[in-house]
């Protein structure tokens, strides 16, 4: 989506440059850190999607490898897991009807990936499978495992396709940029319909195609404002909300008659 405004809420926190390797004797092992300036962000009712910037740093990078650009970083922002039903419409007597369905447990509601390079250039596909990294490699657990593998595969593919089509699953190739040898910046997309809840930001470090280290942080996405209050009241005090809706309707009907009366 064009014209996304940069999201300043999350920013650099842990610029932990390697300050204390003085005592290290063995070749230092690389590691990765990411930090968020806040552990919660609020989106308002008019939220139309945004880019979330996450800063991070490599610790103890090998200068030679870094110069050759053989460090790769993949950053994922994963939404809260929820069960999902995928339904398929089929034609019955000319009418399109939801017929077959498949329920999956614990499917992340959203899944935004940012990478330094296209995923296939960073590591072997088997590696991603093993790490369950990337929308294509997420394991979707069917609720009923006795269904035929072909069916499960079909609905899994449809699930990923629908998620991608609604912007909830996205991939931003080149979204991770090294600002210096140590410091990188990742830009992941927040879809307009990003779910509220606890999101998990994870960063994966690859060195010459080999997975090295992972770091994660948590981010709470909340909705704020009047509309959110309405939503909360509708769910927490549903009876009172219903009574309010009815009273409002009667009041409007009565007032409308007084104001606009034509007879």
């Amino acid at each position: 989506m064009a014209g996304l405004r940069a999201f300043a809420a999350a920013a650099l926190l842990s610029m932990l440059f390697a300050l204390s390797p003085a005592t290290a004797q063995a070749p230092p092992t690389e590691s990765i850190q990411i930090g968020l300036s806040t552990d919660a962000i609020s989106i308002t009712a008019g939220f139309s999607g945004a880019d979330l910037t996450i800063f991070g740093s490599l610790e103890n990078p090998d200068p030679l490898i870094a110069r050759q650009g053989r460090y790769d970083v993949v950053v994922v922002l994963e939404g809260p897991p929820r069960p999902v039903v995928v339904r398929r419409k089929d034609r019955v007597l000319g009418v399109w009807i939801n017929l077959d369905s498949e329920t999956f447990e614990n499917v992340p509601v959203s899944y935004s990936v940012a990478t330094t390079r296209p995923l296939q250039d960073i590591a072997e596909p088997a590696k991603y499978k093993q790490l369950s990294l990337g929308a294509q490699n997420l394991y979707m657990k069917p609720a009923d495992e006795t269904d035929s593998p072909a069916t499960i595969q079909e609905f899994t593919a449809a699930l990923r396709e629908r998620k991608a089509a609604t912007g909830l699953y996205s991939e931003n190739v080149g979204g991770v940029q090294f600002l210096s040898q140590n410091l990188f910046r990742a830009t992941v997309r927040l879809a307009p319909n990003v779910p509220v809840g606890t999101h998990k930001a994870r960063a994966f470090l690859f060195k010459s195609g080999m997975f090295v280290k992972e770091s994660s942080a948590q981010l709470e996405i909340r909705k704020s404002g009047f509309e959110q209050s309405v939503f909360r009241v509708a769910h927490d005090y549903s009876f009172l909300y219903g009574v309010f809706a009815i009273s409002l309707a009667m009041l409007t009907g009565w007032l409308g008659r007084i104001i606009f009366r034509k007879d």
Binding site: E227, F231, A249, M250
Partner: protein
């Protein structure tokens, strides 16, 4: 101006909704119907999820029928006893409807069922009305005096037991068809988000032989309570009532209704009915087309565990 609907969880244009409410209000004022059968499909065409369109439609119907019932109450053209018995049936029907609604939603067949009900009901009512009004128009053009229905004629309904006297309607009928009619309308109200006036009014006139002058007031009276009950139950069991959406529709609706009523007085009855019939048929056809056209996405996702 965009506004975010908290329950429907989408952004919509305020003016589109106000205009939609006003247009439907104008028509409902003109034809003396609640307008729920137009609001709910329009909301669905505007990409509001059907479940929310239905529950919010029921909420919106309260405003228009309350406004209408007030004027009938002042004129004394409202039979409270008949309305009360209809209402008793309505509560039962509405409860059953809500249960079916939740069940269909869980099965993923709610959207289909709502569309099918609309197509069948609107198609039937619209078709019958169109034939009747065209015949009346042709008869009046050829100069023949309209054939008046003989009043006092009894049908099988008047032979049923448990008779009750309704003074304001000058009626002595069995409570079974009254309760049954109320229950049927209540069921439709909770599944379709309609007040049911477009079925209630002809049923009261032709089946129960209620005098025409008390029919609309009584029908509106019972619709207020059935829709209020439906709204409350949808709010508590499905959380699908969007009060912001409902308010925008109502605000446009009550204004439009008063102007519509004025405009309606200038048109002749048959013309009015023919126009309404064509409108009803157009909505039915539009909904029917959606059922048969290959959808752009065969797959759909929904949250599991709604039970």
């Amino acid at each position: 101006m965009g506004i975010y609907l908290p329950i429907a969880e989408i952004s919509v244009n305020v003016f589109v909704l106000l205009a939609m409410g006003a247009a439907v209000g104008f028509l409902s004022g003109m034809f003396g119907v609640g307008g729920g059968f137009l609001i709910t499909p329009l909301l669905i065409f505007y990409n509001i999820p059907p479940a929310i369109a239905v529950a919010t439609g029921a909420n919106q119907v309260i405003a228009s029928s309350f406004s209408g019932a007030l004027s009938h109450f002042k004129r004394g053209t409202l039979d409270f006893k008949l309305g009360g018995v209809l209402l008793a049936g309505g509560i039962v029907g509405s409860t059953a409807g809500i249960f079916v609604f939740a069940l269909l939603r869980r099965l993923g067949q709610l959207d289909l069922f709502i569309s099918l009900l609309y197509v069948v009901l609107l198609g039937t009512v619209g078709g019958l009305m169109l034939v009747e009004s065209l015949n009346a128009l042709r008869a009046s053009r050829s100069g023949a005096a309209p054939v008046l229905k003989k009043s006092g004629q009894h049908n099988w309904i008047h032979r049923l037991p448990f008779k009750m006297r309704f003074r304001a309607s000058k009626l002595f009928v069995s409570v079974i068809p009254v309760l049954g009619l109320g229950a049927g309308i209540g069921f439709l109200s909770s599944i379709m988000g309609v007040g049911g006036g477009f079925i209630m009014v002809p049923a009261l006139i032709y089946l129960l032989k209620v005098p025409t002058n008390v029919v609309i007031g009584t029908s509106l009276f019972q619709i207020i309570f059935t829709s209020a009950y439906t709204t409350l139950v949808h709010a508590t069991t499905n959380q699908t009532v969007d009060v912001i959406l409902a308010f925008l529709l109502m605000a446009g609706g009550v204004a439009g209704a008063q102007y519509g009523a004025k405009a309606g007085q200038r048109l002749r009855g048959e013309q009015l009915r023919a126009l309404l019939a064509m409108l009803v048929l157009a909505v039915a056809i539009r909904l029917a087309v959606d059922l048969f056209v290959t959808p752009p996405n065969l797959y759909s996702l929904s949250a599991a565990g709604l039970n």
